[in-house]
């Protein structure tokens, strides 16, 4: 049943304080307003983080020192594929080499990587590029995130496919 737009004939319809209306939300609109305030605040946080972090999420290894914002001695995120046989662990320090488009960068990480971290997998490392007195560069990392591909393959499909997949994994570039 809808609310009739036509006034009922012969009835005094002047507003009164306790007259119910066809408005559900009127019971406690303060709650809706409070939610809206929270939504606007959260939206502001998301937009701020989007503009400061998400737009250009990382630099590729080959962009260090060449692309705007991918500078030495600046806090950045760097992407590359972990080189085969390059991972070593000494206490809480993990070191490995990442490569992208033919450019390589040694990484020293002050923590133990989590997630799917392994050789031949693309990773994004947070930290800064350090240049020593000889002009050699390495990446001092705080955190490593694994950037897995969109490809999925059954674990025990067959041995040949697995071997081929692993061989390809080290050559993936993005």
């Amino acid at each position: 049943m809808e609310v009739s737009e036509e006034p009922a004939p012969g009835i005094d319809l002047t507003p009164r304080a306790a007259v119910p209306t066809a408005a559900r939300g009127k019971k406690k609109p303060w709650f809706a307003y409070a939610v809206l305030v929270l939504v606007l605040a959260a939206g502001g946080v998301f937009v701020f983080n989007f503009l400061t972090n998400a737009i250009d999420y990382y630099c590729n290894v080959d962009e260090i020192g060449t692309k705007d914002g991918c500078d030495v001695d600046r806090n950045i995120r760097i992407q590359g594929v972990v080189d085969k046989d390059s991972v070593s662990q000494e206490g809480s320090v993990t070191s490995f080499v990442i490569t992208f488009n033919g450019a390589s960068m040694p990484v020293i990480l002050g923590s133990k990587p989590t997630g799917l971290f392994q050789e031949c997998i693309p990773v994004v490392v947070t930290g800064k590029v350090i240049e020593d007195d000889n002009g050699d560069r390495f990446f001092e990392g705080d955190e490593v995130l694994v950037k897995h591909s969109e490809e999925y393959d059954a674990e025990n499909k067959d041995r040949v496919a697995t071997a081929n997949g692993e061989a390809e994994a080290c050559s993936q570039k993005d």
Binding site: N49, D153, K157
Partner: protein, 251 residues
Amino acid sequence: MNTMTPPTSTPAPASPKHPTSTRFTRALGVASLVGIGWLVAFGLFLSPNDRVHKTGVRILYIHVPSAWLAYLAFGVTGIASGLYLWKRTRSLMWDRLAGASAEVGVLFMGITLVSGSLWGRISWGTYWTWDARLTTTAFLFVTYIGYLAVRDLGGTHQQRARRSAVMALLAVLEVPLVHYSVKWWRPLHQNETVEEGKLSGLMLFSLFVGIISFTLLYVWLVMHRQRVLALNDQVDDRGLDVALAARREES
């Protein structure tokens, strides 16, 4: 004064156990439950582990379908809102469909964020990171929470319908932004899997089981929710009838 009180001249009807159910929704509910059973069977037990993700890939079968359902739900909200604003098709039925679909969409978007966060912990090594896909998805989620709040701001049903329809038409523009964020920016989140044909065999089948069962569930939830909204509107209208009846008695 209690606005929910029915007119004194009409006796309160007996409350049925499932007032929003019909034979069709019952059949749909059973089909959804069977689908969910299949999803659990294939998602957790029958599908193989992934070569890289191992058992973590099983979250894909709920994460992707829930994201797809949220997109669908917000799309339906946008279309229904457009139909309400168009004078030739204007009806509060479209407004209630829009509201019901948005609410179910928020539910599925929330599930997408939580399941994605758990999957992120397994694969990336973190629950959350400010990359383009995650940030735009979170933004979409709060936008539709805002939409639901706007529906509750009061006024007549028509006022509610008009303002929320305008907001829905603006909010739905965010959906392509979220979907293409993995192409337009350089996020940590992976690219499309299904569109690119990067899933096959039993893994692909399990994903389709998830998509079909969640779609059935979506239709079931929206049909019921829309009917609850219709009942609520009628309760409000009956509140108005009480006032009119009282005035009639006075005059």
